[in-house]
């Protein structure tokens, strides 16, 4: 028995039935393409989440005004104005806390020359950039002096810089925020998407003091939107959380047993939830795609069974002239395998093409790894062997006389 020759026989049989071979292969192609596509979308989502988490900064809490009650919906967090700059400064002095970044935000119209752009303006302290682990790509962030003097200075995110300045270098130029002139001290490095899907590079940062006094007006003087608090290390995060709670309750004079009028959120916990969700999503996508691969495999089994019945006489002739059971089994198994491997190749190509199209059309991150392609391919071959085996064995088990007599 000559394996090469039997491969030749298998290919010949497949060629003789081009349409049928093609249609059977289509099941495989769609299955494999779906697996590659779904895995790449899932992996892309995971990568996006991981990048967002990495861009957040480490050991972070976010302290929001307003209570979150596990019971009835009271007042959603963030809607009240209960946190002040004083609260933030007090938190800074807690033993487990490394840094605190109080934040106010609002949207405003920006102008540079004829270009205008509307975006989120964030008022921060210089510590904000340390807490977020965010450095400039060009120029500097503003200084403590700028903060204390409420100077009209601004740091631009990448996207905003691009939209206002095009190819021009923004550092040292003056833009207008709500018509007031601001000096650009620097442009931040690219940060990408945040966990909630916002483009963090479409933003500008001004000193919090400047924002309170000059841009967002006297609506809520002295209050802040929220604060980011950085713990000293991973180990002290629990302590840090209770220190913050204790201090703020004390400062807000909350009696024992009443709800807090603020919420402390551990970002690591949030990140874990997001990572978990992304994992579940990619698992689910993979599982759904696997179903189509399974259906493709059943299609192969179906066609191979029909083929064995149709070719019973041929099998009988081959046995009469000396084919043993192994040779017959090998030929039919190879026919199924060739369908899977060719289908797998086309499917992988189609899946990669599809992933590229999705990333283009839906502006979604997709990630294709060699391992993923290998897995889809391996899976396809396994399906071929698994579903090809039964018909092949059926063919090989035929008795020569009966196969020859078959009409």
């Amino acid at each position: 028995m000559n394996l090469l020759a039997i491969i030749g026989e298998a290919l010949r049989a497949l060629r003789l039935n081009r349409l049928r071979t093609g249609l059977t292969m289509l099941g495989m192609i769609i299955g494999v393409a779906a697996v590659v596509l779904m895995l790449s979308i899932g992996q892309g989502a995971q990568t996006t989440v991981n990048q967002a988490i990495a861009s957040m900064g480490s050991n972070l809490f976010i302290v929001l005004p307003g209570a979150t009650s596990s019971g009835a919906m009271r007042q959603s967090s963030g809607s009240a104005q209960t946190l002040t700059l004083g609260d933030a400064q007090a938190v800074t002095n807690l033993p487990s806390i490394k840094a605190v970044a109080p934040i106010i935000t609002g949207t405003a119209q920006l102008n540079y020359g004829a270009n205008n752009w509307s975006t989120v303006v964030t008022g921060v302290t210089p510590d904000y950039f340390k807490v977020r682990n965010w450095s400039t790509e060009d120029g500097e962030v503003f200084s403590d002096t700028d903060f204390r003097s409420a100077a009209r200075v601004v740091v631009l995110g990448q996207v905003t810089a691009k939209n206002l300045f095009g190819d021009e270098d923004p550092t040292g130029k003056t833009i207008r925020i709500k018509k007031s002139p601001f000096l650009v001290t620097g442009v931040l490095a690219a940060k990408g998407q945040s966990l909630d899907g916002r483009d963090q590079d479409d933003s500008v940062f001004i000193p919090l003091t400047t924002g309170q006094r000059q841009i967002f007006g006297s609506q809520f003087p002295g209050t802040i939107r929220f604060m980011m608090v950085q713990g000293k290390s991973v180990e002290v995060m629990d302590e840090a959380e209770s220190e913050i709670n204790q201090l703020l309750r004390q400062r807000h004079r909350l009696a024992e047993g009443t709800d807090s009028d603020f919420t402390v959120r551990n970002m690591a916990a949030l990140a874990a939830v997001a990572t978990g969700a992304a994992k579940v999503m990619s698992l689910m996508l993979g599982a759904i795609a696997s179903v189509s691969l399974l259906v493709g495999g059943i299609g192969i089994m179906n066609i191979m069974l029909v083929s064995v019945t149709e070719r019973t006489r041929e099998i009988g002739i081959r046995m009469a002239i000396g084919a043993n059971r192994r040779a017959i089994l090998t030929q039919f198994l190879l026919e199924a395998l060739v369908i899977c491997i060719l289908g797998g190749l086309v499917g992988v190509a189609l899946g990669i093409g599809g992933a590229w199209a999705v990333s283009r059309a839906a502006d979604m991150a997709v990630v294709i790894t060699l391992g993923m392609v290998g897995l889809a391919f391996l899976f396809a071959s396994a399906v071929g062997i698994f579903f090809g085996f039964y018909p092949a064995r059926k063919a090989a088990a035929l008795r020569p006389v009966e196969a020859l007599r078959y009409e």
């Binding site: 000559n2 010949r12 081959r318 046995m319 002239i321 000396g322 084919a323 043993n324 059971r325 020569p400």
Partner: protein, 244 residues
Amino acid sequence: MASVQPDSSAESLIRVENLCKTYSLDNGINGTVNSQVLYDVSLNINRGEFVAIMGHSGSGKSTLMNLLGCLDTPTSGHYWLAGRDVAALPENELARVRNHTIGFVFQGFNLLKRMTALDNVATPLLYAGVGRAESRRRALELLRQTGLGNFAAYQPNQLSGGQQQRVAISRALVNNPQLILADEPTGNLDTQTSGEIMAVFERLNREQGITIVLVTHENDIAAYAHRLVRLKDGRVVHDGGVTA
């Protein structure tokens, strides 16, 4: 001749003793029904013989040929082929025997469809493990010998019945068998073509000493053979001269 021991003389190619074949059928009405088709058939065929098997339709000729060709296994009895007890061989070994020792020629030609005459003839060599180039070379040589050198690239449905049977004979010969089993090889052919095919068998037997066993219904076909075995209802009723 009544010995149960294998005949060790180099002369004997086929030796069967008390061969029985019973088919079990489930007719769906009264369960499994056994029907015996061959009763204690004993035969000895020496190398170089040319034997015709005759008998009424249903007398068990094809059943006997299938047993002799190792396509089927007897219900009981012994079978030595070229001195080897083949009645109890496993299927893989039987496939080897069919490939190396026996060449089949069928009434319905049994060529592989949509495959050229050349590939049809070369296929047994594929299963014998012979390389492709060598297989094709030998296949072409045999097609030439049977007068089909110009038809190597034709597919069965592009050939006449006589030509198809020549392709089948070439295929039977390609692996240098010691025995050719032909079950009504001229059954689908006209008188003239039958004569041509029989001339091929006759020459193979005479020139190459290949043992030939053929089944036929026609006396003038049987006349090519040197010995006649007649079956009746699954029993050998005559074994000897052709004019019986």
